[in-house]
């Protein structure tokens, strides 16, 4: 592992991002990013919810129920983006052999699974009053269900190995296989839906989307971004502490933590 990192540094001439490919250098940076993103997520989240729940006008057809989209849509976006990010870090890890890439990939997975679950859950709550049922076998919903299975499979596989390095590489490979399959599965779901004449989704928005709704949605989207980054950074720090606990640079970190807990 050390060899590949060193080789990579030589190959790419030690640019700044290689400095942060080392867990020791990345650990404090991740802490700063985490704190910043928690703050951003809190501020934007409160603002976005205020705009969405209190300021945005009531929808003419759907009434108050539609307001769940301010949670639903950003969560659905994050669910997809996080899978892509996971696949990206996995590819980087398999390609360059950098430990931190695998850690990032594994740190992202639970957040991604959570986002998928939130999207499915809020979708069901929206569907009950709108479509009259919690679940329809619609192409988008079905694809999200499968995306959730892919996240669960990734996490289960990563945990199935006693050897951390094997678990890292195995789950990275399956993340890539999944990433190739996601568009195919979506395509198949759309086709399947048209074949079986399932109910189609009510088209959202239309010409008369109020600007305040757009602002609320944008704010919530950024809040979700910040929340996901903060959660991933928090988790990657935990992973680093767990894996590098015997490293020399970790000693003062762990001691500082213990002291802070004592006081």
């Amino acid at each position: 592992m050390a060899r590949t990192e060193q080789q990579s540094t030589e190959r790419y001439g030690g640019r700044w991002f290689w400095r942060y490919a080392s867990p020791a250098a990345f650990f404090p940076l991740a802490g700063r990013i985490e704190r910043l993103c928690w703050a951003v997520a809190a501020v934007l989240g409160v603002l976005g919810l205020y705009l969405g729940l209190f300021r945005a006008p009531v929808d003419a057809q759907q009434g108050e129920v539609y307001r769940v989209i301010f949670i639903h849509v950003p969560a659905a976006w994050m669910a997809m983006i996080i899978y892509l990010a996971m696949a990206f870090w996995s590819l980087l890890g398999l390609w360059l052999g950098t430990r931190l890439s695998f850690m990032m990939s594994r740190a992202l997975a639970p957040t991604g699974a959570l986002m998928t679950l939130i999207a499915l859950w809020t979708g069901a709550f929206w569907g009950r009053p709108t479509w009259g049922t919690y679940w329809v076998w619609d192409a988008k919903l079905t694809s999200f269900l499968i995306l959730f299975f892919l996240y669960v499979g990734y996490i289960a596989l990563a945990e199935a190995f006693d050897d951390v390095r094997k678990g890292d590489r195995a789950s990275a490979l399956i993340a890539l296989v999944g990433a190739i399959n996601v568009p195919i599965i979506y395509f198949a779901a759309v086709w399947w839906n048209s074949l079986h004449q399932g109910p189609s989704v009510v088209k959202q928005g239309g010409p008369s989307i109020a600007p305040i709704m757009l602002w609320a949605m944008l704010t919530m989207t950024f809040a979700f971004w910040a929340w996901c980054i903060a959660a991933a950074m928090h988790r990657v720090r935990s992973v680093i502490i767990e894996r590098e606990r015997n490293a020399v640079w970790m000693k003062p970190v762990v001691r500082g933590q213990a002291e802070r807990e004592r006081t």
Binding site: L94, I146, F149, L150, V152, G153, A156, L157, A160, F161, K166, R169, A170, L173, I174, L176, V177, G178, I180, N181, I184, I185, F187, A188, A189, W191, W192, L195
Partner: protein, 224 residues
Amino acid sequence: MSLFAAAGAVFRREIRLFARRKSDWANPLMFFLIVCSLFPFAVGSEAERLRTIGIGVIFVGALLAAMLALPRLFDEDARDGSLELLLTSPEPLAGLILARVAALALALASALACVAPLFALFYALPAEVALTLAWAVLVAVPTLLLIGAIAAALLVSARGGAILTAVLVLPLAIPTLVFGAGAAQRVLYGESPLAELALQAAFLLLALALCPLAASAALKISTE
């Protein structure tokens, strides 16, 4: 040339093993028969109802039976050490894995495809639906085995391998399930199944191109 010689040897060995130990392919087949027989007990035996669920039941049953055969790909070799022969061969591992999956597919897919039309008749489906279904199973099972080879290779030495293999592989088999069962459904509606069958074949080709490479990478990861 020597890749063909080595891959041929792998293929012949697997076929010989299937001929000598019939349980390797007969047990998944029995599983398939029993699963398909259970459904009428659960949903009732009216012909109309059976006809509605028949295609889906038979198709999913065939995929589950193929899943059960996946550990057969590498587990025994890992136990007796002959997996090391594959891994230390100078020939590309992906080609050897392809030969091995091909042997399993030949044994299992043909057996399942032979039995599937029989059950189509049990489920009150017309004969032309039964034939399309057999063809679709013949294409879907190798696709599933190819995708499954990746998971089977990753989980050679992991605990809880069989169930985890199913969790990883079955979601990825949805496209071939959709189009395979869809083709039979088309025939049931009196339409042409060609579009679905062509797409299903396209997935098989894609799996043929990508899965052996991924499986060889997977086997190196898990045995290192």
